[in-house]
């Protein structure tokens, strides 16, 4: 597969503590990769290593298939980023701050700054001094700086921090559009599970410096849906019965355990049908698991945030 970000045993240690411990990320081209984890899980440090703000103790980072230490200038011109609360010069306006970024990048295009300000809704406030910005406006300016040069990869650490609900929705829609229409790859971290759930194609879960899960969102949704679990004497026979009697039913069979997904009004009838066909049903268990519960279990409880 064509990975835009690929890390190999990426590790960062401070003294004896491994903040990021042998992490292998795989971010495919054009996908939105949501990175989840509690505070101190190592998400920000991992992102900082990708952006050369922090030097790895061990392991390697491939960006666009190339080692990020080689030819950094060419690689990083295609990347936009926000790490935590974006930092800008307090004595300058939003427009001036973006002009500095564009000049430093060497890609100074006349319309790039106003376009970026318009996208994030700051075009009316472009003459306001950055130190007078609200937290939400600062975050918007950070997003403007990250997208201004039309990057192929966005690395966004908590980009919706401080945004109001409408702002969150706007940014989410914009990021989805970027990924869908322009094929921009987005590597995004957040504490807000519902936001990641709505935008991500792939989820990575970090806990205590380790990447403990990297899973496709579609598979995750399967894992997280409401389902009824049957323990049966013959799974294959159960599958034949479902196919013939309940066509269109979403189900999986593993060994002799049948999972019927979604709320089903025919569970009782299904059970009777199994029994009439000579199957022994030893357990029927209705289950409902949301994403948050799933991750809470995965990282040992207490929630993501």
């Amino acid at each position: 597969m064509n990975y835009i970000i690929e890390t190999d045993h990426l590790t960062k240690r401070y003294g004896a503590t491994a903040v990021v411990d042998q992490v292998n990320f795989h971010v495919p081209k054009g996908k939105v990769y949501g990175l989840l984890g509690r505070n101190g899980a190592g998400k920000t440090t991992a992102m900082k290593m990708m952006l050369q703000l922090v030097f790895p103790t061990d392991g390697s980072i491939l960006l666009f298939g190339k080692d990020c230490r080689d030819n950094a200038a060419a690689i990083y011109k295609n990347i936009g980023s926000i790490i935590e609360t974006p930092g800008f010069y307090g004595n300058l306006t939003g427009e001036e701050n973006l002009e500095i970024m564009a000049r430093l990048r060497g890609q100074f295009c006349k319309n790039a700054v106003p376009n970026a300000l318009e996208i994030v809704g700051l075009n009316q406030e472009k003459r306001k001094i950055f130190s007078n910005y609200s937290l939400g406006m600062k975050q918007r300016l950070g997003i403007a700086a990250a997208i201004m040069h039309k990057p192929k990869l966005l690395i966004l650490d908590e980009p919706i921090n401080g945004l109001d609900p409408i702002g969150i929705c706007e940014i989410r829609t914009f990021l989805s559009k970027l990924s869908r229409d322009n094929g921009t790859t987005i590597f995004i971290s957040s504490h807000v599970l519902s936001e990641i759930e709505q935008i991500a194609d792939i989820i990575g879960v970090m806990h205590q410096g380790r990447l403990i899960e990297e899973v496709d969102m579609a598979e995750l949704r399967n894992r997280s849906r409401t389902y009824t679990e049957f323990d049966l004497s013959d799974g294959q026979m159960a599958a034949i019965i479902i196919k013939s009697s309940y066509p269109g039913t979403d189900y999986t069979i593993q060994n002799n355990t049948l999972k019927v997904y979604g709320p089903s009004p025919v569970i009782g009838e299904m059970n009777r049908n199994f029994a009439l066909n000579g199957l022994l049903v030893t357990r029927i268990n209705p289950r409902e698991e949301n994403l948050e519960e799933y991750f809470s279990k995965l990282i040992g409880g207490g929630g993501i945030a």
Binding site: L51, P86, G87, I100
Partner: protein, 249 residues
């Protein structure tokens, strides 16, 4: 590189450090004006020229006031990227950390030279005021312009000896350590200004060099220059090494 220097200068737009530093360096001309007026009334028979005033000004500007101001602007330039959290925004652009520092040092040199020019011009203007009221001997623009290269040379030497304070600002990510350091070196400079051992103290050696006092101290000019260059090199190397190897947490 020109772009980097340009960006460093844009970053100073609306910065309060600009007027503060200008007001700071104008204290030297004002002190000299007060001294001249006082001399006029205390010793009416004592004649002094514009050149005498410029000669006296070197002590204030190279050793005392300007040095403290230059350390403060160095601390401001090098610590603000930390205090305003901008490194994590500009490093991934990408900007090489070395180039970023070179841009800052170039901007610092320009700022120091500009402020030395302001001091020089300020002295010429306040002496003009004195000349209008009391008459100052040999007051003329050609007499003043002779001192401009001295001021610019002094600015370059001050820039060289200020590099350790850039490292201190970068290491401590703030103003406090460099400003305390500047107070210490200014006290040292004041103590050694009239002592031959001043040639060994880089910040006093600047004063000796621009005043042409080294030879009268019995030591060689090369010795002072080497000491200044060593201190400067140490400051530059530490500043570059620190940022090049630092994890930006």
């Amino acid at each position: 590189m020109l772009n980097l220097i340009c960006c460093e200068l844009i970053k100073l737009k609306r910065s309060k450090m600009i007027p503060i530093s200008i007001i700071g360096v104008l204290s030297t001309p004002l002190l000299l004006l007060l001294e001249a007026v006082q001399t006029h009334f205390d010793k009416p028979g004592l004649a002094f020229t514009l050149s005498d005033i410029y000669k006296s000004s070197v002590l204030y500007s190279m050793l005392l006031t300007n040095m403290m101001i230059y350390v403060a602007i160095t601390a401001f330039l090098f610590s603000r990227e930390y205090s305003e959290n901008t490194l994590k925004t500009i490093i991934p652009i990408p900007i090489s950390r070395s180039r970023l520092l070179i841009g800052k040092f170039c901007a610092l040199l320009l700022w120091i030279l500009a402020l030395n020019f302001v001091t020089w011009a300020g002295i010429f203007i306040v002496c003009g005021l004195y000349h209008v009221v009391f008459t100052l001997e040999k007051y003329s623009f050609p007499a003043a312009i002779v001192w401009l290269p001295t001021y610019l040379l002094g600015g370059i030497l001050m820039f060289l000896t200020i590099s350790p304070f850039a490292f201190a600002a970068e290491k401590t990510k703030g103003f406090v350590a460099p400003v305390i350091g500047s107070a210490v070196i200014v006290m040292g400079s004041a103590a050694l200004a009239n002592h031959d051992w001043g040639v060994f103290y880089p910040w006093t050696a600047i004063f000796f060099l621009v005043q042409g006092k080294i030879n009268s101290s019995g030591y060689s000019t090369a010795l002072s220059v080497i000491i200044i260059l060593l201190v400067s090199a140490a400051g530059f190397i530490l500043t570059f090494y620190h940022l090049k190897t630092e994890d930006l947490k």
